[in-house]
Amino acid sequence: MVHDPALAIRNVTKRFGDFTAVDGLTLDVQVGTCLGLLGPNGAGKTTLMRMITGQTGLNGGSISVMNFDVTSQSRQARSILGVCPQQDNMDDQQTARENLALWAALCRVPRSRRKQVVADALETAQLADRSHERVTNLSGGMRRRLLLGRAFINSPKLVLLDEPTVGLDPQVRSDLWLMIDRVRRSGVTVVMSTHYIEEAERLADDIAIVNHGRIIARGTPQELRERHAGLEAVEYFGPTDVLDEIAAKAANAGLKSRRAGLSISVLGVEKVSSELLASLGRHSRRPTNLEDVFVLLTGEALDG
């Protein structure tokens, strides 16, 4: 049985003056999956998220959330969305509990259930013991957890997470990943933008690589790696002229490579002999990753 997608984006365009932020983008997200939108800053990820919530208008195309058109049925669409914005927009003079209670009211959670959903969200965010603390007094990680907890308060069908862990330290990040993973496992559809490769690899069932407002590749992390970068890579370190030479030789042998500072990765090396690789110099072998795919496809490195 084929289900309608949770999110259907069709040929969507958004221009700001001369700048095209989203350029004829088409994307389906199936119910119960987690899609990672992977792209550098300025790729159009946030614009796309804001288009889904109706906060940025469309210049062309259409978007529907669970079959609600975001232009003509924006309120219905927003009532089943949960949103964790990139930029923290909580009332920071209010307490954690007040922020959540307000959100429950804004999301039209029935009055009789509000107390319970606020308590649940505090539990999810592991902030039950800090519930009376003003948001301004919470640490960056706690604020993020609260923001995430807030996004789930109306039991949304589709959750939009815009760079949910940006700027946080690794420990906090893995705490948040646990939170997101729990929601994902409960069957909620998640669309998460990120420019952290590891985040996308750990959480996303499916990845869409976005650049210049377009989807340039789509697939599971493994499919993307196999399709674009092969299974294995070898890394060489050395001065630039040596790396130039290795790049040229690899290209002659029909191999793709990518540079990162004083190293070069030659990709898809499972197809060639180890003698050839040894002839290029001392190297270390590793599995390919999404960053390889990303750099190959966009020519840009992801920071972080």
Binding site: T53, S74, L81, D91, A101, A105, R108
Partner: protein, 255 residues
């Protein structure tokens, strides 16, 4: 555009209530003290030289006029500052608009809250004038309603201004060029009948003038059918500024 849904308003009021619970002493102190300063400084100070205006004691004249001062200060300034801070600095509106709430509901929700508050603050100078010779009468109970409807248009005006300016410092232009004249050419401290005739005509587009007319008519028992014109003018002012506020804010918030 989505149909206006009144169910969004309680949530907006909830937010205002949470903030108010935290800051009410400061807000109330300013809102009440300023008009009282006008009442005492001008009412009693100038009153020492001017005995009566239109057959009433000057302090009573100013005391009833100070209601409009309170209304103006308690509505247009929160409309400007609170809206600007929430939108630009805190980005709170961005969050709210990702929930099933529209810009129109957000602006109307905030304006009705501020106006309800102003209905209380606006009545204080009137009560404070009673010991100075203002005789209590039942029609004074209409004053909070006058304050509410006046504040509605003025709060929308404040919201509109906050959507027009790029930086918060630009508010001073509006304060000097718009709000101060609104206050002084309204009949607060002197009757506009003393001004050249054309002021009388111009004052018909000044909401503060209509507010003061209604307040004085309620306080002195001189309400008549012509008071309906004042009510209508305030209503029209609120509709116009409300439309401007919602349009401008939508443009600012929905990109």
């Amino acid at each position: 555009m989505a149909r206006f849904d009144f169910r969004s308003l309680p949530a907006i009021w909830t937010r205002e209530l949470i903030i108010f619970k935290r800051y009410w002493p400061g807000v109330t102190f300013t809102a009440i003290l300023e008009p009282l300063v006008f009442l005492f400084a001008i009412g009693l100070g100038v009153g020492a030289f001017v005995d009566e205006i239109d057959g009433m004691k000057y302090v009573v004249f100013v005391g009833t006029g100070a209601v409009a001062t309170a209304v103006l200060f308690s509505s247009v300034f929160p409309g400007m500052y609170n809206t600007f801070i929430a939108r630009v600095f805190q980005k709170v509106y961005d969050g709210i608009l990702s929930t099933p709430t529209t810009t129109a509901e957000l602006m109307v929700g905030e304006a009705t809250w501020i106006s309800a508050r102003t209905a209380v603050y606006g009545s204080v100078p009137m009560l404070a004038t009673i010991p100075f010779g203002l005789s209590p009468r039942w029609s004074m109970l209409l004053v909070p309603f006058t304050c509410f409807i006046s504040a509605l248009g003025l709060t929308f005006l404040g919201q509109y201004i906050s959507g027009v300016v790029k930086v918060i410092d630009s508010f001073s232009y509006f304060q000097s060029a718009l709000l101060t004249p609104l206050l002084f050419v309204s009949g607060t401290y002197f009757p506009i009948s003393g001004l050249p005739d054309w002021f009388g005509t111009v004052s018909n587009v000044n909401p503060v003038y209509h507010c003061i007319e209604l307040v004085r008519d309620s306080c002195f028992g001189t309400l008549s059918w012509s008071s309906m014109w004042n009510v209508l003018a305030l209503g029209m002012f609120a509709v116009i500024t409300g439309t401007l506020s919602i349009r401008t804010m939508t443009k600012r918030l929905i990109t």
